[in-house]
């Protein structure tokens, strides 16, 4: 039940050598796999579902959209949650501003202040926005909204037109703000058992703070911040 096969190669050496000898994981194309279940998708089927876009522009479709076009679309589809200028409404995300706040006590992580790649904006608007009607926008509309949100953050000029050539060229302000290798563990506690510290001081307590919803009875909807 809890056996682990580290890699298919290990699998090959332990139990299924015959199978894998005829079906190497890295090898010449065979018409079907070992089990042969399922169907082979058509190019059209793959294209319809393959919606991801990478920083290098791979996945961006034909089409284009301007900042001006984006402004009109934004007012219609986005401003009710994100505010007319991307300032955010209630707890819905703020999209613009926040430059230079990442080291402050209350950082504002927006497209302009935090997002490392412009492609992510196109990808995410296209796949998941507007929140109440995801995947309802045309490619041109997504380009236009992407251009507008970039312009709201002063990353592109007002005459910017987004398309599959221009978008991968956009360098985001916080592009270099990330490391993509996990440095952890970064904290090394000792397993001390006796007399580990001289004094114990309570710095904060949740007692008396009216933030905890009820944990008995029906769901608590009455608590506000």
């Amino acid at each position: 039940m809890f056996s682990f096969h580290k890699t298919p190669r290990l699998l090959a050496s332990t139990c299924c050598g015959v199978i894998l000898a005829s079906m190497p994981i890295l090898g010449a194309a065979e018409p079907t796999g070992y089990y042969g279940y399922g169907e082979t998708p058509t190019d059209e089927q793959i294209a319809a579902w393959d919606i991801d876009v990478r920083p290098d522009g791979k996945g961006l479709p034909e089409g284009s959209g301007s900042v001006d076009e984006g402004m009109t679309l934004f007012e219609t589809h986005c401003s009710s949650c994100h505010g007319a200028f991307g300032e955010g409404m209630g707890r819905y995300p703020k999209l613009a501003g926040g430059e230079g706040t990442l080291t402050e006590d209350r950082p504002e992580k927006t497209v302009g202040s935090y997002w490392p790649y412009a492609s992510t904006l196109w990808d995410y608007i296209h796949r998941a926005m507007p929140f109440f009607a995801p995947q309802s926008l045309t490619d041109d509309q997504v380009y236009a909204l992407t251009a507008y949100v970039l312009n709201l953050n002063y990353i592109v000029d007002a005459d910017f037109v987004a398309n599959k050539e221009t978008l991968p060229e956009v360098v985001m302000p916080n592009h270099d703000g990330f490391t993509w290798e996990d440095p952890r563990p970064v904290v090394n506690n000792e397993r001390c058992m006796k007399d580990c510290k001289e004094e114990v001081t309570i710095s904060d307590s949740a007692a008396g703070k009216n933030l905890t919803p009820s944990t008995t009875g029906p769901l608590d909807e009455g608590i506000t911040e």
């Binding site: 920083p55 819905y92 904060d204 307590s205 949740a206 919803p213």
Partner: protein
């Protein structure tokens, strides 16, 4: 059938009513006010379902013979799919209304204070949705695998279940578990502080089996997993992990996945942050680079005090928490208690858990309860005699890599207070002289 049940219920009510007539008048009035006998025929579905525990508790143990002993209970298939006793009605997932903009893109918390062992019941597994819980017809659902592969395929759920299956017990934890507490102690509840972790037995197909079936091209180093929900949620996963212990799961604790957990199919990425366990899985694409999706750039990255951020911090580091006592489970009076809790590590097995009752000055090694499994919840216990004085309870896990769970002060000294995710610090519960338990932080 219904008439018969009704008669049975009425009989039970009659017996209980006679019972109440033997009570002193004060207690009898309270008993009748409990509403047991006003329901009449509406009580179909369990003769005793409507009996208020308080009304009966004081009178139904020895020498009394309770009404449920002197009547017939509900028949089989009264509940064709069984549900918990109505007396367990408070054991539910709960949310923090002020935490998120709405309940569609939000989180609910597992009531860890009520759970035993290590398995989370399917109805209590914590929820995290980015665009709500979709209602997916499994007949219509397809999983497509394509990209840098020799043979792209589209699998129906029937196709998927023909592959050899594996089952493994793994926890899933949202990396934001406890993330509200970086700046100070806010919530006074085990459920809300730590309830974004749950554990189940997952059954499905090893992802390596599926990748073998399609044949990865040599340049295929990354995998994109995508959901079929309104967020079309995506994460990039390196091929090394994909070929290690990841499963494409269609079952949870012996039954089909719950809708909240990705019905009909999800990814289970053992030990990694919950967001990578993509639910309602519709697509797996093999590529040569990560996709830098919204969830792995603007979210689920850890902002450090110097303004830089750490991305791809997938592993859930070792963590533990005492589940009894806790704010929801206070102590009653002096005497012997079993301090119990849960420990887990995304890097493997729990090696040991230590417990302190004096705020970390001195520690004792707790017992680990079997089974102890890799990337699973592990239950621990330590017997403790409470003398009635205030105490500061803590637990500290050591995993098989030798990693020792840090204090909050240690974690904050490196990570500051704005990284939101991956807060795996030691939890402190203050036991007051009256037995109440409060969430506190130590400096």
């Amino acid at each position: 059938m219904l008439g018969k049940l009704r008669r049975l219920n009425q009989d039970a009510s009659k017996i209980a009513l006679e019972e109440s007539e033997r009570l002193p008048s004060e207690e009898r009035r309270r008993f009748l006010r409990s509403g047991l006998f006003t329901a009449g025929g509406a009580m179909v579905g369990g003769a005793l379902a409507g009996i208020a525990p308080k009304a009966l508790a004081s009178t139904q143990y020895p020498p009394e013979i309770p009404p449920w002993t002197r009547s017939l209970g509900a028949g089989v298939v009264t509940d064709p799919y069984g549900v918990p006793s109505p007396f367990e009605k408070d054991v539910i997932r709960r949310n923090v209304p002020w935490l998120t903009a709405d309940e569609v893109s939000s989180i609910s918390f597992t009531p860890l204070q009520h759970l035993k062992g290590i398995i989370t019941p399917n109805g209590l597994f914590f929820e995290r949705h980015h665009a709500g819980r979709p209602e997916i017809d499994p007949q219509q659902h397809r999983l497509m695998i394509h990209g840098l592969v020799d043979r792209p395929i589209i699998l129906s759920m029937e196709d998927l279940q023909r592959f050899p299956s594996v089952s493994q017990i793994n926890f899933i934890e949202c990396p934001a578990n406890g993330g509200m507490e970086w700046r100070g102690a806010q919530l006074n509840s085990l459920q809300f502080l730590h309830g974004m972790v749950s554990c189940a037995e997952w059954t499905g197909v090893r992802l390596s089996t599926l990748l073998q079936e399609v044949g990865i091209k040599p340049e295929g180093k990354w995998l994109l997993a995508e959901g079929a929900d309104g967020a079309a949620m995506t994460r990039s996963i390196p091929m090394e992990k994909a070929l290690d212990d990841v499963i494409v799961a269609y079952a949870q604790n012996g039954e089909a996945l719950r809708r909240e957990q990705g019905y009909p199919v999800r990814l289970v990425v053992p030990g990694w942050e919950g967001n990578t366990h993509v639910k309602w899985l519709r697509r797996l694409e093999v590529g040569d680079k990560p996709w830098m999706q919204r969830e792995e750039t603007s979210k689920y990255t850890d902002l450090m005090p110097d303004g830089t951020a750490h991305g791809f911090t997938w592993v859930m580091e070792a963590k533990s928490v005492i589940t009894s006592p806790c704010p929801e489970m206070p102590l009653k009076n002096k005497g012997i208690y079993q301090i119990e809790g849960l420990a887990w590590s995304g890097r493997g097995k729990v090696k040991a858990v230590d417990v302190s009752v004096d705020g970390g000055q001195n520690w004792q090694q707790a017992q680990l309860r079997e089974p102890v499994m890799s990337k699973s919840l592990t239950r621990f216990a330590l017997e403790w005699k409470w003398d009635g004085n205030p105490a500061l309870l803590q637990s500290r896990v050591i995993d098989e890599t030798g990693y020792v769970q840090p204090t909050l002060a240690q974690l904050k000294s490196v990570r500051g207070t704005n990284s939101i995710y991956h807060k795996n610090a030691i939890q402190t519960w203050k036991v007051n002289g009256d037995g109440s338990v409060v969430n506190v932080q130590l400096s």
